[in-house]
Amino acid sequence: MAADKAYGLWKDWKLHVVVLGIVIIAESIGQFSFTIGPGVVLLLPMLYAIIIGLIVFFTPFISEKQAKNAEPLIVLGVALLLAKIGVIIGPSLPEIIAAGPALLLQEFGNLGTIFLALPIAIMLGLRREAIGMTHSVAREPNVGLIMDKFGMNSPEGRGVMAVYIFGTVFGAVFMGLIAGFLATLTPLSPLSFAMASGIGSGSMMAAASGSLVGSFPEMEDSIVAFAGASNLLSLSTGLYLSIFVGLPLTEKLYAFMMRRKERKNNA
């Protein structure tokens, strides 16, 4: 894990004090929500925290070194979050086992990105980059897979890095905004969206399930338990899903769409 190599991070008191300050400001502002049509967009303290954090990065309070030190702290924070999720899953274990088939099968929903994003990427004029971009949600294991297969400087490699950067910077904010919104907008159950929140990234899962909990507080324990269980499944199966299904499927669909496009151009 990331905290293995770095020692003495606890001594970076400036970083921790800044974070404590951000937490105090963010939590004091509290929750706000507004409606767009029938859907509700929920603004949670964690969203302010990520934005204030980013702003603080550009002030003299934070140097490059501190921003680097913050990374292992994210890992430790996610560890605490997963311990909390564990003790929420525990008591509801009978419920989770009952929902096991749904939990397992929804992992295949992660292939939804291929059908939604790949055609549009090709329509926008992207070529082999599109394969790297749309074969998965582009978290660390998937970046590794693409680099391994196509190389760092390949179009596929550039594509997967672009989506990885987008996810790193904007993923949590994006998921936090759309999760609650879609759950209030569509007739689908918040529990289905809870399972969908586990896409293999701790911070995105936290943001998405947090926004669902904010919108449906009475279902908090079930939402967190399903999101956490699904994230665990994604962490442990996500790479294999990409290797054996996601990437081959993306390449097939890409070849098919390009052939059709060429034929259309020749006609």
């Binding site: 894990m1 999720i85 929420i88 749904a102 971009m133 936290a206």
Partner: protein, 150 residues
Amino acid sequence: MLKNIQEWTLLLCIFGISALFGNWLGYEIAPLSAVPGMIVLILICLAGFILSDLIPIQFPSVAYIAIIGILVSMPWTPGAEYIVTWTNEVELLALTTPILAYAGISIGRSWADFAKLGWRTLIVASLVLLGTFIGSALIAEVVLRFQGII
């Protein structure tokens, strides 16, 4: 190993203090009543880190942590009700706020790369997240309805 444990403990405690402040300001749970729950969570994390160090197979330490959390709070585990009562005093959202504060600071380093992404990337990347999320939700909905759970 000992040095690692010491480092992890200190960092988890620092993180825990920030979270307890958020827990107090945002969810009105007095820090003192949330301390036992936070200690339990920190101990679960430490156990997970130590296990993943001791067991030589490649398995993410966060997965060990979640599994230990599940094991100690299962209805069949003696004493689980204490674990559940104590950790109930630590709000999930109070833990996510400091995570994202650290994340906000660290993503500043990626900002220059982010600003260079073209508009087409922004559209496609949003659709990647959206497609995954909606795809999983649709399948979950169908199966949960089929099973009669919702």
